[in-house]
Symmetry: C2
Subunit: 342 residues, 2 copies
């Protein structure tokens, strides 16, 4: 959620190579989940596309973040072991880091989270033995917080996206999806995923580059949190004007990452901004037709198809449902209020 | 839900062979979903077993029934094509038959369902173009209903479980799970699944027979609907005393199947009866920790572990969450009421 590049060896601020991605895929095999690609012909007819849901909310820790966190913590340098781990996160990255550290026997772990984060995310992080330190997203100096934990306390910072090892992990998702579409004998026209710091779409775009020229990669942002769209439009990183207000808590990073933006500026087909109501409608559709619990930020990419029937019309679209960590109350509300027939 | 053996060629009332199961596995590849096996170390610690969730609610049509229905309808005899399809079902089998018929271009399809079936199941069945004919589960003569549709109307009856082609389909679930546990380098001590007509556990037990002697197969029934447990105890099929009253609508078949009972009597390690409240607790645990929507009947097998901490203690247990078709209101209730920490 903030750049920590001033603390990071510059070699980690290059895009991951194909061997980096292949190595990450080997590293996660039989530890992480090969999440299924789900389809429903009636839903396809209803929405006017061939929809292939990459059900990544089933991943370890309930989000794609486990791919990067596992890869990153499996690659700790010798001088990083035993120093403690710190990560800044709206929840899913912190959850993934806390779990990976637990599995690898690394401690202590501190997760810096904005006040008001979903209980589900806070509880899971604590459950893996990590300490949660809250900050006020309006007034906290995130870079200063990270400097405290890294420079003064000696912890190793695990960036949520501005790190080639993290992006290589995220890239394994699209690599896997492409193997699955190969199994179905189809090449997707597009892959859509939520975009906050931009690591997931950056990794996916890198994984597809050179493997297929026929699949465009799109990011999806909440309305009013379209920092990546606006940054791409003017060719440099600009911040969101708001810090809270969308139900998509996982997609509220203040500004695109440096490394991720450089990748996304080169490779993304575009970024769509979508209203929260379509995230909730998508959640209900995923409940009714796919048996999937998906959190709002994880459902917004599907929401982009529901919001604009002309967008990618008649195309074969892989939609990443990227997370499933949602409080019961909000989930019940989505099932009740999203009145659209799923 | 009723025996149709008087209408069925006796060759289909033999247990499926290993080649039958292998053929079924080939037939479903790239049409059905290879559902993932999910794990959470903290849940394992909390419940005192290594729990491997076979997430079959993600299957096409939201239940394991798609395996048997697809296999069966792919194997229609020449004289069966074009005659229409009829099935008696509490919902999931009918949903699976309606979808498979849609995919294979077979019609018309009639699904005979008890009044009071969940809306989610009725709507899905209609959505695939099938006609739903309701009956009163207290007074209807199910065998007479089936005779009407088959003998008078000429439809082909698709049994929910008393058919080797259906059981071969169900068996692919355990075959797949065993390949997945092989990948993890572990042999499960037990496999648990819900039991109504008994086709799922029968198929699973057949799939494991001869592949491993180390994995016991258990059925799980709702309290007061323990017809299979009581039938096994006395060595012949006896009916349930009640027809409604459990929230596990998928597990209320009136009496064990003939073919399935003969298999289960030989191969099951046992059958547990579990109270509804543990199905609801399991649903909440699956929501919080695995991102899975599971219906009550699909969650009851996990409920068996929650209900009795000493049962299969310290063992590695594959639990099949066999379906995800649940109405929103009941689901929200399960999330709210099941107060146990997931």
């Amino acid at each position: 959620m903030t750049s920590t590049s001033n603390l990071v060896d510059p070699r980690w601020l290059e895009p991951p190579s194909r061997p980096d991605i292949d190595d990450a895929a080997s590293r996660i095999r039989n530890v992480l989940v090969e999440t299924p690609l789900l389809e429903n012909e009636r839903v396809n007819e209803r929405i006017g596309r061939r929809l292939l849901i990459k059900a990544e909310g089933l991943q370890r820790t309930g989000s794609f973040k486990a791919r990067g966190a596992w890869n990153r913590l499996s690659l700790l340098d010798a001088d990083e072991v035993g120093r403690g781990i710190v990560a800044l996160s709206s929840g899913n990255h912190g959850h993934a880091v806390a779990w990976a550290a637990y599995r690898l026997g690394l401690k202590p772990v501190v997760i810096l989270m904005p006040l008001g984060s979903p209980n589900a995310k806070v509880e899971h992080i604590k459950d893996w033995g990590a300490e949660v330190v809250f900050f006020d997203r309006y007034v906290a100096d995130r870079a200063a917080l990270m400097r405290h934990w890294t420079l003064e306390r000696g912890f190793v910072a695990i960036s949520a996206y501005d790190d080639r090892r993290i992006i290589a992990g995220a890239a394994t998702l699209a690599r896997e999806a492409l193997q699955q579409t190969d199994g179905l004998g189809v090449t997707p026209d597009a892959l859509l995923a939520g975009c906050a710091g931009g690591g997931l779409v950056a990794g996916c775009a890198l994984a597809l580059e050179g493997r297929t020229n026929d699949t465009s990669v799109w990011g999806v942002e909440p309305e009013d949190y379209d920092d990546t769209a606006r940054s791409l439009a003017i060719g440099r990183r600009v911040a969101n004007g708001k810090a809270t207000g969308s139900v998509c808590d996982a997609l509220l990073a203040p500004i695109p990452g440096e490394l991720t933006f450089s990748i996304n500026a080169r490779l993304l087909a575009g970024v769509r901004a979508v209203a929260d109501e379509f995230a909730l409608k998508a959640m209900k559709m995923l409940f009714k037709n796919f048996g999937l619990v998906v959190e709002p930020g994880g459902a917004l990419a599907l929401g982009a198809l529901l919001a604009d029937p002309s967008y990618l019309r008649e195309k074969t679209v892989v939609v990443v449902t990227s997370g499933s960590n949602v409080d019961e109350g909000l989930y019940a509300t989505a099932l009740g209020d999203a009145s659209e027939k799923g």
